[in-house]
């Protein structure tokens, strides 16, 4: 006798349905990863705390000024943005122990022993009229200067790039080249 089960559902259109959904998700997917320059803002100044000028010697400060016409003034001289990285590197490293470049202080650092660490600070000041594009380029160059120095040191010591080092090694290198970029309190120059 003919056994009558339920008739089989035609599954050939299953693929089409699945394709339709697939295309929908393909189109809506945005695979962009958010990336950018990470910075840390200085903590807010307490109201009761008197604004005191911290005494830093002039030779220890690398002044970078950006004006509203997007011109760059570094240590009192105009500079092109392409040269900023080299300038900053020379300032931080001070290879010849120049009188006008930052002092060094010997510190005990893992792996390196007693190592002279530069006291240099980069001070970045911008006007309200400066374009954001240029500001970010300058930030980028300054960070690049630090990153290159760290990479060079890592290469010299371990023959590896900074990013490939172990955590404690990274920490030691960071102590040798601490990232010190200070942004001055905003000043109102010109229109509000």
């Amino acid at each position: 006798m003919a056994r009558r089960g339920t008739p089989e559902v035609n599954a050939s259109s299953m693929a089409d349905i699945a394709f339709l959904l697939l295309v929908f998700f393909l189109v809506t997917t945005t695979m962009d990863v958010d990336s950018g320059l990470s910075r840390k803002l200085p903590p807010p100044i307490e109201d009761n705390e008197e604004k005191k000028d911290i005494d830093i010697k002039e030779r220890n400060v690398y002044v970078v000024l950006l004006n509203m016409n997007n011109a760059l003034l570094v240590e009192g001289r105009e500079m092109k943005i392409e040269n900023l990285k080299e300038g900053a590197k020379e300032f931080i490293e001070n290879p010849l122990n120049n009188e006008n470049l930052p002092e060094k202080k010997n510190k005990d650092i893992d792996f390196f022993g007693n190592y002279p660490v530069s006291k240099g600070v980069i001070s970045l000041q911008n006007d309200r009229g400066t374009s954001y594009k240029l500001y970010l380029q300058v930030q980028n160059e300054l960070i690049a200067a630090y990153n290159e120095l760290r990479n060079e040191k890592a290469m010299q010591k371990w023959g590896k790039k900074f990013d490939d080092l172990k955590k404690i090694q990274k920490k030691a290198i960071k102590k040798i080249y601490p990232q010190r970029i200070s942004e001055a309190e905003p000043k109102n120059i010109g229109e509000n």
Binding site: S35, G36, K40, P42, P43, G129, Y132, A144
Partner: protein, 155 residues
């Protein structure tokens, strides 16, 4: 001999497509899982500046976004062409930022708050004035970890 000639009568055999739905479903699930639906509708024109030293933002759930730029063409009639701040889906003033930060903090676990980052997505044509104001507000709100969003520079 006859045996062989009989067998080879009908060209290449059809490939079974029975597993096709399975394959497609697998792809489908992959895309479903990786898809992040855009939460905010951009109301501004946003072209991020280029940079080389960029790092990926980790832990997206801990990131809050601030958008700055000129309103889109279609909205310029209402909002003008001056760069404006967009928080979530609405235009905001600089003074709204502390409220925004504290509402973002309320959404997260208390112990995650110190790791929260604010991502500044600023159009490259913006002037620094508005960005400086935002930074000052963020400092006052104690949201000190920030990230200037940028594109990878093509080398």
């Amino acid at each position: 001999m006859a045996k062989f000639t009989k067998k080879g009568k009908g060209g290449t055999p059809a490939i079974s497509t029975a597993s096709l739905p399975d394959i497609v479903f697998m792809l489908l699930f992959f895309f479903m899982v990786t898809t992040v639906m855009r939460e905010t509708d951009l109301k501004i024109k946003l072209k991020l500046p280029e940079a080389t030293e960029i790092k990926k933002l980790e832990k997206k759930s801990l990131v809050s976004y601030i958008y700055v730029g000129k309103p889109k063409k279609s909205l310029q009639g209402i909002y003008g062409t001056e760069p404006r701040i967009q928080l979530n889906d609405v235009f905001a003033k600089v003074s709204d930022i502390p409220d925004y930060i504290s509402s973002e903090r309320d959404k997260r676990d208390e112990k995650e708050v110190p790791f929260m980052t604010t991502s500044l997505k600023v159009d490259e044509e913006t002037k620094m004035g508005i960005v400086t104001d935002i930074k000052q507000e963020l400092r006052k709100a104690n949201a000190l970890k920030i990230n200037y969003s940028a594109r990878k520079k093509a080398e």
